[in-house]
Amino acid sequence: MSEKVLMKGAEALAEGAIRAGCRFYFGYPITPQNETPEYMSRRLPEVGGRFVQAESEVASINMVYGAACAGVRVMTSSSSPGISLMQEGISYISGSGVPCVVMNAMRGGPGLGNVAPAQADYLQAVKGGGNGDYKRIVLAPASIQEGVDLFVDAFDLADKYRMVVMVIVDGLIGQMMEPVEFKTTVDVNALKKPDWATTGRHGRDHANIISSLMMDTATLEKWNLELQAKYAQVAATESRIEEYEMADAEYAIVAYGTMARIAKTTVRTARARGIKLGLLRPITVWPFPTKQLQKYVGQIKGALTVELAYRQLFEDVELALCGKVPLGWYGRGGGVVPGPQEILAAFEEQFGKGR
């Protein structure tokens, strides 16, 4: 299939994952991403895969852990409170150095919150969540098409680095329909079975053992140093950004995902009024595109961070640009999504008329 089809985001992303070679899905329902497991339950058996609705999110992520140890392409998806329940498993998977993909359709929080679009799990996704010194690669698509394309990268990156890759979206991307094209179909039979997979000894001289438990301090420190070296390599090579209308920009909005998409309209409106505004949209939020942002030190007179959260993305922008570029911030919470005009009003309030 290379022609465009009109699909709901949550279903298109599921199909994108299957095209990327995902054959195993374990999950537990939660709005606003239920169309993803529903689609998986129908489609995975058709392609020789397996779908299991687990009894809880804790069970789901541990089933993912098990499948990941067998060296297959596996994922789960959930929404904020469900993702919180999975943090222990994500830490174990990271500590064991096995690959998987986890999608979070972020919703309003804290607690049960509501089912409206939010970006308030940013810090949980990029900085922490589970215990210990681990990192995930975190991809933040702004459209359904980009999400579908990024799923191929998500599984490739997970396999390459033996890391958890998170794809963070929100209910708006999940519920929306857009034309989408499935450009890549990974042949799962052509994927090399990893030599660390726990799928039987097959005459090998050693047994593969996967664990995150290392009681000996020196052993665990050595393992941590290996992980840190890997994370440093990922940080140096895998960060991505979209730079929109930045060539002559005097000001920039920094935003990701849905918020960046809305801010793009703000940029167009501002440009029509003669304000030289551009958009810096991190596609990877970990590794954060710090260097790409720092390129504009000296060029821009201000950067406005816009997010569906309270100063979470802003922390990373501050780390990248603090003291070098005047910073502003505008965010909304509780599932409220501001329109392009509200962002422009916030920009003008904080940076004058941008001239």
Binding site: K4, L6, P32, N114, V115, A116, G171, L172, Q175, M176, M177, E178, P179, R261, I262, K264, T265, V267, R268, V337, G339, P340, Q341
Partner: protein, 180 residues
């Protein structure tokens, strides 16, 4: 060039369907499209709406805080979206179900007895298509033919026999607003 519209009414009136039909037809025309539904703890009989954007350029924001047009199927939706329609925009109202006129003088208002027209065609369920036809006639976002051609995608199996009458409903709405 961009056309956008909010379609709003009770759940079950076929609001999401005509939005999707419009988006689908736009896609077949090679346009960029987005279809964004209201979602959440919805219930039968509750209000629902969707936002459709059809554009030549890649669509940035799919949100429509100030839509160019609104098609409203009930009074609550009229009250909610009438103030939001942009200056110079279009408001399409089912005059059978909504006994109220807009007080705005800076937008074009179309009052069409859509449910009555649908009943004349045999079933009030065609009301959504009548209103869609009225919108197409006034706003002309994409050619009528492309919308008619997309109908069979949504009416399959047993419903395939309804393609023709739905086409007539769209045409009836369009004819109503095209009268001199």
């Amino acid at each position: 060039m961009e056309h956008n519209v909010v379609i709003a009414g009770f759940g079950g009136q076929g609001i999401m369907l005509i939005g999707e039909l419009l988006a689908r037809a736009g896609m077949e025309q090679g346009k960029e499209v987005t279809w964004l539904p209201s979602y959440g703890p919805e219930q039968r009989g509750g209000t629902a709406h969707c936002a459709v954007v059809i554009a030549d350029e890649p669509i940035a924001s799919p949100l429509l805080p100030e839509p160019q047009a609104a098609i409203v199927f009930n009074r609550q939706s009229l009250d909610k979206f009438e103030p939001a329609v942009e200056k110079g925009g279009l408001l399409v109202v089912d005059a059978t179900l909504i006994d109220h006129k807009s007080e705005r003088s800076d937008i074009t208002c179309v009052y069409i007895p859509a449910t009555d027209i649908a009943l004349q065609l045999g079933n009030s369920k065609f009301t959504n298509m009548v209103l869609l036809g009225a919108y197409l006639g006034k706003a002309n976002p994409i050619p009528l033919e492309s919308v008619l051609a997309a109908l069979p995608v949504f009416l399959t199996g047993k419903k395939a026999t309804l393609v023709e009458v739905n086409r007539r409903a769209i045409q009836a709405g369009l004819d109503f607003v095209s009268k001199p």
